[in-house]
């Protein structure tokens, strides 16, 4: 976990079983108030790695729970998920993640 004058960066990694293979990067969402953008890219290995940059600090444990829940339903392997967040609720985060997963080939 690291901070840069107001922004918090969080990183998580889960081992996945659903190999995503090669795919063109997928972007969903917009960085607006109460919203977030999610970028999915192929990544070597079996992990699904998440990097979250958020202006709403101090919600690390909630992010972990939401991302873990997403990964339990979409156990992606070989995917890097990059998020820019501006205070989205867990429901909106889950929605964007689901939209992103649905856009994978």
């Amino acid at each position: 976990m690291s901070m840069a004058a107001g922004l918090e960066t969080l990183q998580y990694s889960f081992t996945g079983s659903q190999a995503a293979g090669m795919f063109a990067p997928v972007l969903v969402g917009v960085v607006g108030s109460g919203n977030l953008e999610v970028l999915l890219e192929p990544s070597p290995g079996t992990a699904c790695r998440f990097e979250v940059q958020t202006s709403a600090r101090g919600f690390g444990s909630i992010w972990e729970a939401v991302l873990r829940d997403f990964h339990s339903r979409h156990p992606l392997a070989g995917v890097a998920v990059a998020i820019h967040d501006m205070g989205a609720t867990p429901a909106v985060v889950s929605l964007r993640l689901a939209q992103a997963a649905a856009a994978l080939p």
Binding site: A4, A5, G6, L7, P25, L27, V30, V31, G32, N35, E37, L39, E41, Q53, T54, S55, A82, H84, D85, M86
Partner: protein
């Protein structure tokens, strides 16, 4: 009538990328500097603001009714569509590339508050560079078409950039101006401009007004497919800047200055300009306003 069709998609409610996907020929958009390249703002982290992978603007080339066009679409939800260093440079690059590659037109889907204040000086210089690059493109005979219909409108330096284009399309819910009503109210009080009086805001800066007085060339409904049709109609709308055309423009703007003397409200100005049924305009739909302008010009 079109507003009741079940498949009507609101242009205002679409993101920039959704507008691109729906407005241009299916699957034809090829993006330059896509999000995965992470060409982002270097200035936002210090203010605790997250960056966007595309810095709030998507640029590239596409087909519109099979014509090859270049596109720039601003994302109004990110920083109000404000222009920062990278965002502005992407637009400058778009225009410079148009100079080199000569597409049939450059389409700017504008939704912006103008200079991105979080990048202050860098944003101001960026908007100025966009203006210069746009005018270079026009001078080379490549039409520049601006579409305005986002919820955030087209304000500030982008409101000026828009008026540097060959052709403007605006929806009845779109807005085009320079200073936002909140800034004016903050400066000179609520008596000067009540920013919460929506009807006043739209009479003063909204699409129907701008179209009626000639600041925009087409007025459309808030519908992506209607915007598409308008953009296709605009494709060859080259309007060369010459001494004569600028002298004509000067005469129009001078006449408007005089017509507007003593005008308290848009309705007064419309009356002064000889537009019939001025009092009824705020309640008219786009079709009725289009007819009204045609009649007023006759």
């Amino acid at each position: 009538m079109s507003s009741t069709l079940p498949d009507r998609v609101s242009y205002a409610e679409c993101s920039a990328r959704e507008r691109i996907a729906r407005l241009f020929d299916a699957g034809s958009f090829r993006e330059w500097l896509p999000p995965a390249m992470r060409v982002m703002s270097p200035h936002l982290a210090q203010l605790g603001v997250p960056a966007a992978f595309d810095d709030g603007v998507a640029i590239g080339e596409a087909r519109l009714a099979e014509r090859r066009v270049f596109v720039g679409a601003q994302e109004g939800e990110f920083m109000g569509g404000g222009v920062g260093e990278v965002h502005g440079a992407k637009l400058v690059g778009l225009f410079k590339r148009a100079l080199r590659d000569r597409p049939d037109a450059v389409l700017l889907l504008a939704e912006s508050g103008g200079v991105r204040l979080h990048e202050a000086n860098a944003g101001l210089i960026a908007v100025s560079e966009v203006m210069r690059a746009l005018l270079d493109t026009r001078a080379a005979g490549i039409p520049v078409i601006v579409l305005i219909g986002g919820a955030n409108g087209c304000f500030g330096g982008m409101g000026i950039v828009a008026r540097c284009a060959d052709h403007l399309v605006i929806s009845d819910i779109g807005r085009l101006a320079m200073s936002g009503p909140e800034v004016i109210e903050a400066s000179h009080g609520v008596e000067e401009f009540d920013s919460r009086d929506r009807a006043l805001v739209w009479r003063t800066t909204g699409g129907k007004h701008r179209f009626l007085v000639g600041d925009c060339d087409q007025l459309v409904e808030d519908d992506v497919q209607v915007f598409r049709a308008a953009a296709v109609r605009a494709l060859d709308a080259l309007r060369p800047l010459t001494l004569q055309s600028l002298q004509d423009e000067h005469a129009v703007l001078t006449q408007r200055l005089h017509a507007g003397e003593g005008a308290e409200d848009a309705v007064d100005l419309w009356q002064s300009l000889g537009i019939a049924h001025a009092g009824a305009v705020p309640d008219m739909n786009a079709e009725q306003v289009r007819t009204l302008r045609q009649e007023s010009l006759a």
